[in-house]
């Protein structure tokens, strides 16, 4: 064993505790409700689809849930009307 390992922090438990606390706070709030991100994704895609043909393979949804706020990025590629 490397001598440096002795100095490296072995405490992963506090990280586990914090991750769980953040996740479960979210999941308890959302339980019974549909996942908000999923609702937004579906409705946004539905609105776009009303006007243009959307290829499901060309839709990218990124979600980042953080402590106080979340971001949702929806990237939809569609052919130009003229094409």
């Amino acid at each position: 064993m490397s001598i440096f390992r002795l100095f490296r922090s072995q405490s992963s438990a506090p990280v586990a505790r914090e991750r769980l606390q953040i996740l479960l706070e979210y999941e308890r709030r959302e339980s019974g409700r549909r996942d908000l991100a999923a609702v937004l994704r579906d409705e946004i895609i539905a609105v776009i689809s009303r006007h243009v043909t959307v290829d499901p393979d060309r839709v990218q949804v990124k979600l980042d849930r953080r402590d106080r706020m979340s971001t949702l990025a929806v990237d939809i590629q569609f052919p130009n009307a003229a094409a």
Binding site: Q10, S11, L20, E27, R28
Partner: protein, 271 residues
Amino acid sequence: MGKVIVVTSGKGGVGKTTSTAALGAALAQMDQKVAVVDFDVGLRNLDLVMGAERRVVYDLINVVQGVAKLAQALIRDKRLENLYLLPASQTRDKDALTEDGVGRVIADLREKFDWVICDSPAGIERGATLAMRFADAAVVVCNPEVSSVRDSDRIIGLLDSKTLKAEKGERIDKHLLITRYEPSRANRGEMLSIDDVLEILSIPLIGIVPESEDVLRASNLGTPVPLSNAESAPARAYFDAARRLCGESIEMTIPSERKGLFNKLFGRRAA
């Protein structure tokens, strides 16, 4: 009237079946009349852990469907005369279990036994919700590990919404059983501590079962942990948990291995 307990966890492999067998055996040793019921249709294992796998004739589905009488399907333990097993079906479709049918069988068991302990399948699907449906109390088995704690939280939510008691507006008692705990690793900050898990899940603790080679040894032999080696650390943890289930208040400890001089000198037990 007996008490119906569901042993549940959400996550698989955390020790539901081991704990069902162990709590059943510990309660039976306290002169209680106990039935342990396997709800894991298609993947039954309680029979194996209890050492009764070669004596299964009828199962829960046969009784639910009226093919067999309850008394015919119950297997009496060879070591403890007031401990019985109702096995799950290995072959049948899990949809063969109906809520009404299960309700009738549980009501019947409740009249004949002091304790009916239902071993839930993993997951949150029908099998798991049926296993908890008629319970008076739940033992939530949890490992000090993130995915197990998360799933325990889900199961606690289901216990508070999908059980008959919850639907009637009554309270279902929930007890946390932490298994595979390693105090030395928790002390070094490598494992969630008991306090961490309790703070996150906030249900009362019924016992702490330390990680131990005695648990695998017991299942290898088909003997519930308390009967395999009553002096072992996990056996003492299960005895304490069983006494707490009966309402005794005993100090919460983490049982540790009692090593004799020989073992201290040579480290390994000659098992």
